[in-house]
């Protein structure tokens, strides 16, 4: 753990880590946090992306980090969170079907795929398509939905107005919904 912090700290003066370096770090952290969280709980667990990202940020984040490092972190965290959630859902259904080895160490699972699980998968699928088409807007979705960032924060990152992000978000939602509807 402290190694991660050292890495982050040492990277700071030269202007921050690149996303690709940060991602595995964040991913590992989030994964272990998620596992720990679920290990503590009984059945019917739903992962709370917001809480997890928060935890990870507190552990890995550093108030001295320059703003664009923070940006990187959250972008990475959002990606990581998305992957974790999707993996988990897939795993759950795989186990339900009796195949595969759990990626995460799970004690108990809820057997029925909840509405939330399905939603995650659907969004993930749709988002993958949107990313090819319109990566800017897809990023907003990722940051907002998986990373738990506010419109204001995203606006700041991109150097645009909050209104712009709101509009992107509105568009993204409509488009993703259409994908999802059409796919099923």
């Amino acid at each position: 753990m402290s190694d991660d912090l050292d890495i982050l700290k040492s990277a700071h003066p030269s202007g921050g880590l690149v996303s690709s370096q940060l991602l595995p770090l964040v991913y590992d952290e989030l994964r272990s946090l998620a596992a720990r969280q679920m290990a503590r709980e009984r059945a019917h667990q739903t992962l709370q992306p917001t809480a997890l990202v928060h935890e990870a940020w507190l552990k890995l984040g550093h108030e001295d980090l320059a703003w664009n490092d923070r940006e990187h972190f959250f972008r990475a965290a959002a990606q990581a969170m998305r992957r974790i959630l999707v993996d988990r859902v897939r795993e759950k259904s795989a186990l339900k079907r009796g195949e595969g080895i759990p990626l995460l160490d799970l004690d108990q699972l809820d057997i029925a795929a909840t509405g939330e699980d399905e939603r995650i998968l659907q969004i993930d699928e749709a988002l993958t398509i949107l990313e090819k088409d319109d990566p800017d807007v897809a990023r907003v979705v990722s940051l907002k939905f998986f990373g738990g960032l506010t419109n204001k924060e995203i606006a700041k990152m991109d150097g645009v107005s909050e209104r712009t992000i709101e509009r992107h978000w509105a568009y993204a939602k409509a488009r993703l919904l259409l994908f999802i509807r059409d796919a099923h």
Binding site: Q37, M38, E41, R42, A43, H44, Q45, T46, L47, Q48, T50, A51, H54, W57, L58, G61, E63, D64, D110, T114, G115, E116, R119, I123, D133, D134, V137, F145, G148, L149, T150, K152, E153, R167, H168, A170, Y171, K173, A174, R175, L176, L177, L178, I180, R181
Partner: protein
């Protein structure tokens, strides 16, 4: 299809975002007609997208309760904090010291909260103990204009957290702008905010990060209600984190110079500085005394800039606007440009100047002092020019004993002056340093007083939620003579008293009024009309109880307290309240200066007294009453006549005047006239006196106005 757009921006998105922005279907249709002419597929897609927006919104909603009903779902990954259990819903934002989430509390009660988690952990056990003590103070803040702190402590790993009431409001300056609040309304809001801060300061809590975004305004039934939020910075942090990080907390534009120094030194006066900047902003627009580029500099530069800068007075800010901007601004405030500028030069500038003095000891003593001065400006009364001599002495004492940030200071300054015996109550002493130098009471007394204070606080919360029975219970446990000298005690006792009154429980009502009177007479010396408004009901209740000694005591204390009031309205209240029964020459002498004030106000056609028919009538009556008590019958008659000439507003005024007039007639030997006038007045009053339960108002007469009529009637009848 139009091709002169940046090809990297997807056309569909561009058109969607634009189309979605139109407010009518007609406009949207026309837009699409024009932009998608010749591309029906594009048009169809856009229309579909636009149509599914609502569904999309609901699909993407953050869903805290997935998967199970309340009964089964407790086991989800919620945060366990203290005795509560919370489900994070969304991040509201991130500040310099932590992150704030909107959350749903599941246990023990279900409600929406905001949770702030600070990023800096406390490393030492002492730090955490301090934090817990501070949290007590925070949690004890119970004021309608402060967002309640529901819980405050730290996680096992040392990170402090705060659970607070979730406030959905608009930032102060934004609210003012949106609702086109005129200058007067803005300042009225400001006064409320100051009073809320006073409440916190009295309990030893300093905000440290006051700025418009921490002052949210809610609209309750078209009344603007300010809520101070984010006392989070008030949580004590280790002043020197072990890894040598430089701790900088606060918002530069609103920070006082002493807050920005290397070893920050601040108390309530730092909050006052911030309030001063906010005041200036309400009057003249956003603070500009720090260079714009400062945000990108390193911490050291920022510190230096804040320490060296001088806050701008409103007229300076205005002067730096372009003529156009100035005109727009004045328009927003509903004033002529010249009026605004003149107002700044006369007194508004001065108010801000005193609040934002570089030297903290030169600022206002307390938030309520600042509030009072602003209120004076609003009431067209002269603002205070120099500090009270007694306070100056205290200030020197405070400066001598000021404690620095590292020892975990709570507010000391500004609360001491004028409290007399009760001084010690408002100290929160945390170090082992002896109280001998400052304490005037013994340890046991302190404890008792603290306990009493918390009873009042409890009652106040109950009053806020209209839980009258409980509020009454809390207050009844306090011996009347030991009612603490706080505005809170005044208001809670009054509220409960009036509740008893409405239910017909006169004795209990009078008890509460008595307690209110005790508090009123000793509360800190803010010379405002609001405080004096409680005076008359208090006097009436005490007088009615029949205990002449108590009434005497009450009017003596009142006089002591309000003797040098500059406000004619207050003077008039004091006169009326003190003369419900005959008075000795000593008391009458002491009332003379007050009578002069009232008289002067009547002669000054600019004064509020003159301009308000209700005040005019009552002022004449007050003078009639005084002259009558002094045995100056002819003068009294003249004033009575003047009173009766005024257009009737409050019916009790002419009735009271006539009763006194009847007594004057009797004094002068004109018994027939006496009987006549008395009978007339009694008849008029009859219907109302049978059942004085309604609290009444200016137009129908307040309950205490009617009781005063009753008292006067009694007096007239008994001396037959």
């Amino acid at each position: 299809m139009p091709t002169d757009l940046d090809p990297s921006i997807p056309l569909e998105r561009l058109l969607f975002e634009a189309a979605a922005g139109f407010s009518t279907h007609e406009e949207r249709r026309r837009f699409l007609d024009h932009t998608t002419a010749g591309d029906p597929d594009l048009r169809a897609r856009l229309e579909t997208l636009l149509a599914v927006q609502e569904e999309a919104d609901s699909f993407f909603e953050f869903r805290p309760h997935e998967g199970a009903t309340r009964a089964e779902s407790l086991e989800a990954t919620d945060l366990d904090i203290g005795v509560g259990r919370y489900r994070l819903i969304e991040r509201l934002g991130e500040g310099g010291c932590g992150v704030v989430y909107r959350a749903e509390q599941l246990e023990p009660v279900n409600r929406e909260v905001a949770i702030k988690i600070l990023r800096v952990g406390l490393e030492s056990p002492e730090g955490r103990a301090r934090l817990r003590a501070e949290s007590q103070a925070l949690a004890s803040l119970a004021h309608p204009h402060i967002a309640r702190i529901l819980d405050a402590d730290s996680f096992p790993d040392g990170r402090p957290y705060l659970v607070m009431e979730c406030v959905h409001g608009t930032a102060l300056t934004e609210f003012c702008r949106l609702h086109h609040l005129p200058l007067q309304s803005r300042l009225e809001l400001f006064v409320k905010i100051c009073r809320a801060l006073q409440h916190a300061h009295q309990r030893g809590v300093v905000h440290r990060d006051l700025k418009p975004s921490n002052l949210l305004v809610e609209l309750h039934d078209s009344v603007a209600v300010p809520r101070v939020i984010d006392f989070g910075l008030a949580l004590e942090l280790d002043s020197r984190p072990s890894d040598g990080r430089d701790l900088f907390l606060g918002t530069p534009s609103y920070m006082s110079p002493e807050q920005a120094s290397e070893s920050p030194l601040h108390d309530t006066r730092s909050d006052l500085f911030s309030l001063g900047v906010i005041l200036s902003e309400l009057i003249a627009g956003p603070p500009r005394h720090l260079p714009e580029s400062l945000g990108n500099q390193d911490i050291k530069t920022i510190r230096l800039a804040i320490q060296q800068a001088r806050a701008w007075l409103p007229s300076k800010t205005l002067a730096h606007l372009t003529p156009e901007q100035r005109a727009d601004w004045a328009n927003l405030l509903g004033l002529k440009e010249s009026t605004l500028i003149a107002a700044c030069h006369h007194e508004l500038d001065w108010l801000v100047a005193k609040a934002t003095q570089h030297d903290p000891s030169l600022r206002y003593e307390s938030a309520s002092d600042l509030a009072s001065d602003v209120q004076r400006w609003l009431d067209h009364e002269p603002v205070r020019a120099r500090p009270h001599s007694q306070r100056y002495r205290w200030r020197k004492l405070i400066r001598k004993h000021r404690v620095g940030f590292s020892a975990g200071a709570l507010a000391l300054a500004g609360l001491i002056a004028g409290l007399g015996v009760a001084t010690v109550l408002f100290f929160r002493e945390k170090s082992a340093r002896s109280l001998a130098e400052r304490a005037l009471a013994s340890e046991a007394q302190l404890r008792q007083r603290a306990e009493i204070r918390s009873r009042v606080a409890e009652a106040a919360v109950r009053v806020h939620y209209h839980d009258w029975t409980e509020a009454s219970r809390w207050l009844s446990g306090i011996p009347v003579e030991q009612t603490p000298p706080s505005l809170e005690a005044v208001h809670t006792n009054r509220a409960v008293a009036e509740w008893h009154l409405r239910a017909g429980r006169q004795q209990q009502a009078d008890e509460r009024f008595l307690a209110m009177a005790v508090a009123l007479a000793r509360v800190d010396p803010t010379d405002t009309e609001t405080v004096s408004m409680d005076l008359l009901p208090g006097a009436t209740a005490v007088c009615r109880s029949g205990d002449l000694q108590r009434y005497d005591w009450f009017r003596h204390i009142t006089l002591q307290r309000f003797a040098d009031t500059h406000q004619p309205v207050v003077a008039e209240q004091v006169l009326k309240g003190s003369l419900l029964r005959p008075a000795n020459s000593d008391l009458l002498d002491r009332l003379q200066p007050l009578a002069m004030r009232v008289q002067n106000a009547l002669e000054n056609h600019q004064s509020r007294t003159w301009r308000d028919p209700d005040l005019r009538a009552w002022s004449c009556f007050a003078l009639e009453l005084l002259r009558f008590r002094m045995g100056q019958d002819e003068d009294a008659r003249n004033w009575a006549e003047l009173c009766l000439q005024q257009p009737p507003v409050n019916p009790t005024c002419p009735i009271s005047a006539r009763i006194v007039l009847s007594m004057i007639a009797r004094n002068q030997g004109r018994n027939e006239e006496f009987e006549l006038l008395l009978a007339e007045a009694a008849q008029e009053a009859q219907g109302h006196l049978d059942d004085i339960r309604e609290l009444g108002g200016t137009q129908s007469g307040f309950w205490f106005d009617w009781v005063n009529v009753q008292l006067l009637l009694e007096e007239a009848r008994t001396h037959r």
